[in-house]
């Protein structure tokens, strides 16, 4: 039996994002986000009987994060618990897992949460106030050549795309600028108050070529949770239900430098079939954007344009506030906040509900949400609908 519209997202909880030190650890952010999500849905904490956790990099004890969070929050008598990690695709995968469990009668109200706290509060006497260093790593041999961090890996893939298809920094910059324009209409975005032109983009410092500073996502402290329950139950709750029309995962394997592709084609096939939709039915797209480049690849892989043609496709502002295809309408991870796959999920929920304020897109019946982890290694697709 199809899971189409069997379940819905009934609550969204989002802590303050970015340089906030409201909690000392991700557990605190996760607990706050879950409480906010439960309140948003009009439920009680004791209604939760399932807990799925995607721990960020700074989560201590991440091997059993869902249990440690349960203990920290004093949650009793859960019927479902798991710590999940397929990188940025985890948010979609948690919602998928929750919906499956609810439809099978294994749980009723499932909280899915991501939280992280890589930024440390400024300490007197220390020059640096915390940085992306939590994400830097290098394997033994690679370190000898100066190859460190995920930025440097993605840069190889992006360079290859540029070499084969003529993609340019102006193309990457078009994504960055469009998303900043969206962020300037999102009060929750870390760059809400900071406009950015193409000239600003071009003059921003290099991180690792071909990536400027504004090709790379933000680093954020915060927590983000959603409550998944049956569509029947969601109808009687406080918020407009966001129906889960389609779900899918795709994990292509192989070498992303060779394929220059994500798992989106596989995940899309499953999700669109379940939802009974075509690409033309999509009103807005919230696409995982660890880098501007990731958005380009994802647009290609969903078929919005052909492989290799995403640069010219976005060059005229097509994905921005005045474009024909609204993409990453809250500013995304590049300009709003970096909560891994929960960033596109949260914006998808707000848009489909029609609660996105000044940045609300006029037609918001069907939203596409993607997640991506590793180096284009894992992928999740959600099709969210305002109507069952």
């Amino acid at each position: 039996m199809s899971l189409r519209a069997k379940c819905a997202i009934a609550g969204l909880g989002q802590t303050r994002m970015g340089r906030n030190y409201d909690h000392a650890s991700p557990v605190g952010f996760a607990a706050e986000a879950i409480q906010l999500a439960v309140d948003d849905a009009g439920l009680k904490i004791t209604d939760i009987d399932g807990l799925l956790v995607n721990p960020g990099v700074t989560w201590m004890d991440s091997v059993m994060a869902s249990f440690s969070l349960q203990q920290a929050m004093g949650l009793k008598d859960l019927r479902l618990s798991a710590t999940m990690n397929i990188g940025g695709a985890t948010a979609g995968a948690m919602i998928m897992h929750a919906a499956q469990a609810i439809d099978a009668g294994l749980a009723n109200v499932v909280a899915c949460v991501f939280a992280d706290a890589p930024l440390k509060a400024p300490t007197p006497g220390k020059a640096k106030e915390g940085s992306a260093a939590a994400y830097g790593f290098g394997r033994g041999l690679n370190a000898a050549f100066g190859q460190f961090g995920v930025n440097a890996m993605y840069a190889f893939v992006a360079r290859r795309h540029m070499h084969l298809y003529g993609t340019t920094n102006e193309h990457l910059g078009a994504i960055a600028v469009a998303q900043r324009q969206w962020a300037n209409m999102n009060p929750d975005a870390q760059f809400y108050d900071t406009p950015m032109s193409m000239a600003d983009y071009n003059s921003s410092r290099w991180i690792v070529e071909p990536f400027h500073l504004y090709d790379c996502c933000l680093v954020s402290n915060g927590g983000l949770a959603v409550i998944v329950t049956s569509a029947e139950r969601a109808k009687d709750l406080k918020r407009p239900p966001v129906y889960i029309l389609g779900m899918g995962q795709g994990h292509p394997g192989g070498d992303p430098m060779e394929t220059l592709a994500s798992g989106a084609p596989i995940a899309k096939e499953t999700a669109f079939k379940m939802a009974g939709i075509e690409l033309d039915d999509i009103d807005l797209a919230e696409l995982y954007d660890c880098y501007t480049f990731t958005v380009l690849v994802t647009l290609e892989d969903y078929g919005f344009c052909k492989k290799g043609e995403s640069g010219p496709f976005v060059a005229n502002g097509r994905t921005g506030p005045n474009g024909s295809l609204p993409v990453n309408t809250g500013g995304g991870q590049l300009s709003s906040f970096y909560m891994w796959g929960m960033t596109p999920v949260s914006e998808g929920i707000l848009q489909v509900r029609g609660e996105a304020g000044r940045r609300q897109v006029p037609k918001h019946d069907i939203g596409l949400v993607s997640g991506n982890g590793g180096i284009l290694s894992t992928h999740s697709t959600l099709v969210l609908g305002a109507h069952p």
């Binding site: 033994g140 440097a152 190889f156 290859r160």
Partner: protein, 159 residues
Amino acid sequence: MILPPAVVVPPTQSSPKVTNCMAEISKPVPSITPDLSEFFEGARNNRLIVQKCEQCARLRFPAYEICSNCRSTRASWVPVSGRGEVFSFNIMHQVYHPGFAAEVPYAVVVIELEEGCKFVSNLVGVKPHEIRCGMPVEVIFEKLSDEVTIPKFRLRAAR
């Protein structure tokens, strides 16, 4: 940015060197882990060797326990030409290790060998902004210590 995969990062031996009264921090010297001991033995003798699946003959590097093509666990080390092309590259502007502080911006390259295997390395003698995909290269060896020599690459005349 996406999460670092849950890899076990082998420790690097970073030994401070003192030269001309100036404290100079050397680049990280890779540890000779058991899976790469033969590779480093080859490099010490200025030979580039990679792992070869004994069942399907596919070449691979770094070393893995299982062939991703045929799942065989039997493998040996074989010499390769050391000739190839620049497949991709980046130019690093951030300092992740003090040993590279004096070199930023520097390039890291992905070399695709003629035999079809890829190597992350450095291209010696070419300015970072002059590197292009497709440049023909050949291996050279850089001795870091008595035990550790690593392969780097330089331009070669195209055939």
